[in-house]
Subunit: 416 residues, 2 copies
């Protein structure tokens, strides 16, 4: 194929598609609350599938609800070049997080249709199920199950706070298909995403060339104590699991401050307890904490300090503690040849760009275990995300979309 | 009347009544989970009303579900001598807390029937609604509404975690009657209760002569921040309301330790937040804390330190804070003549007894604003309460029941 073919992003068409998405699952003003496997998720999936079919893509749903939409190649037996992200959002989510990567990929397919170009390799567009983990924990369940980090049964068994199972909810909304025996090979995977941080916006950069992710560690901790009356029970006999959890949260936050000067972050994001009522000490609590730092050694030091904080917090409250789960993500996980390709395109197109590490987790982290993978970041205003104030202008997004189009096109047409 | 009348507690009869109560609303092994205005609460109320009617008492339900059961006096226009407590329990409650004071009062009535004695003044037995505050906050709603601390509409509007209103739930279980225009006068109010602390048991005392309550202060605090992604969002921009709440809880607990040596207690008993999920900072949290100390000045110092901790915790997490409610209880609230009467009877009967302050809140605290009031404590094993391990033997309870019988009888028959 002729690489000078005038494939181009149609920003009017793309923006209209984003605006339609932003009508589905309204949250706080300007934002979305489109939880995985909810009625709103069904509605956006139905709309997405309709768009894919209009664009001539063939649609397949897998056992965990991931939607694969395929555009045939001229050499259709070659593994596809894949783009994607997620259409679900947080409780107080924005209209760009995840959605950009899916609907941006749709725009790439449409742009190729507009010029009547068929690539050598097939192209696939994927919407991963439950990236956010807002309703069903953990996050990135769809990409994790596809790539074998989670079994299908385990993923189906995740429950929301009302006790509903993810597998049942996917069936309810009509998006529980069949898993492949072996996940099909990808030639490459590109995920376009808003930065979800302030760096590109602050520096006036148009494109973030994502070289990897902050080495990060998360933990789910459980504390057990004893119920007792809050009044007469002597301080020295108390085993208040809620206090063990609160001490852990504070220790994790303090850890973030210790390393804030070098870019570290530590987050205590969740604490639940039982009975968690005035008048009675709680005998059970669960807390979630995570630490992230760009330097792998410092990140490991922070993870160890968080682990120690779990035991210290339990000891101070005279409770027992169990670390139920530890998960790690980030590091140098992306394919150097794809990172280089993205950087080269951004340079050739004259965009202000910089290398950047992702600080959030993304589906690309799991896909990187399966195929050569990279990400492309766009700026977002003030770095605000997971908040209805999340905002990008058309101009913020166009360079990233253009780089995605050119990278996918070149990758899909390459001859080797 | 002849004060040598052989009125006596029938421990077999009393114990069988307690055992029947302990079948209703089973909780963890040996304990109860009989929440206010639940089906189990209806069942125990129905049983209680049946017992009262068998004992010839006339039963009246007021607008907040308090049950008054009246035994006529020979001079029936005199204000009644009142006994009572509550039949509801905590989520993980025992079978004695509250229940002893209600069913012990029933045994007093039965004991008078056994000897065919009618007192000069009427006697009333009361079951106060929702003393525990486990399902509907705050605690002691029934006695608080009867005595005018809360309006009936406000009390009816208390909601549980599923959004059900207390007023509706009382109507559902058939226990929403009519409020008196003015609450009727009591000649005196006696509340028999387990100590809910370890002092009597540790010292081998049989009866606690309750001279007052620990001066105590509770607060309901609300923090507001902003949602954001837990990953890239810089530490210095974070406004995590969950962390504000956790810092408040830890500060309250620390305060308890500072004053533990002189008998002080501070409890952080509740923390809820939204969205309270991994991956997102919470923009809302509510916490409840309370402080108690036998010395009024120290108690006031602790209350002020807790108030300061609310502001400091919010400031450290860059959140705003509002103190939604402050409540105070305890102090020298009981009637000296009743305290002296109870002490005299315990001495005359040869029981090992001591003066003691109540550390928990009780319905008697509100009733003390309405009528001369006192409490009688029995030991409970190890002081364990608000826990299914709460335990008293028949021998632990008999002296307190005997003192209650003799105090009520003397008070009801006195001529002045």
């Amino acid at each position: 194929m002729d690489m000078t073919a005038p494939a181009r992003i149609d920003m009017d068409r793309f923006w209209a598609t984003m605006e339609r998405s932003a009508e589905i699952g309204p949250g706080r003003p300007g934002g979305l609350s489109r939880l995985a496997a909810s009625d709103a998720d069904r509605e956006v999936r139905d709309q997405f599938v309709a768009w894919c079919r209009e664009a001539g893509l063939s649609v397949r749903i897998d056992g965990i609800g991931n939607i694969f939409a395929r555009r045939a190649g001229t050499d259709d037996n070659l593994p596809p070049v894949v783009m994607g992200s997620h259409l679900d959002t947080q409780f107080n989510g924005g209209r760009f997080d995840g959605i950009l990567g899916v609907l941006g990929g749709l725009e790439v397919c449409r742009a190729l249709d507009t010029i009547g170009h068929r690539t050598r390799r097939p192209i696939e567009l994927v919407n991963w199920t439950n990236e956010e983990g807002a309703r069903f924990s953990p996050p990135m369940v769809g990409s994790g199950t596809f790539t074998g980090a989670y079994t299908l049964d385990w993923a189906h068994g995740r429950v929301d706070e009302e006790g509903r199972r993810l597998g049942d909810e996917l069936a309810r909304i009509g998006y529980r298909g069949e898993m492949e025996e072996t996940p099909h090979a990808f030639d490459a995977y590109y995920e376009l995403h808003i930065e979800q941080g302030p760096i590109l916006d602050r520096e006036g950069m148009q494109v973030g060339v994502v070289t990897g992710g902050f080495p990060s560690t998360g933990m789910l901790i459980e504390f057990r104590g004893e119920t007792a009356h809050t009044g007469p029970w002597p301080m020295e006999w108390r085993k208040n699991a809620l206090i063990a959890g609160a001490r852990f949260l504070v220790a994790v936050d303090d850890l973030g401050w210790v390393h804030a000067g070098t870019g570290g972050k530590a987050t205590a994001a969740r604490l639940v307890a039982w009975p968690n009522k005035p008048g009675i000490l709680s005998d059970w609590a669960q807390a979630v904490g995570d630490v992230r730092h760009p330097d792998p050694t410092t990140s490991a030091v922070m993870a160890e300090a968080m682990r120690r904080a779990a035991y210290e917090s339990a000891a101070k409250a005279d409770c027992s503690v169990e670390i139920l789960d530890i998960w790690q993500w980030g590091g140098n996980i992306f394919a150097p040849e794809l990172v280089e390709q993205v950087r080269g395109i951004a340079s050739a197109r004259g965009y202000r760009h910089r290398d950047i590490l992702s600080q959030a987790g993304h589906d690309a982290y799991f896909v990187a275990r399966h195929a050569p993978t990279t990400m492309i970041f766009t700026p977002c205003r003030g770095g605000i995300t997971h908040n209805n104030g999340e905002f990008c202008s058309r101009e913020d997004l166009e360079p990233g979309l253009d780089v995605l189009l050119r990278a996918v096109l070149a990758r899909a047409d390459r001859v080797e």
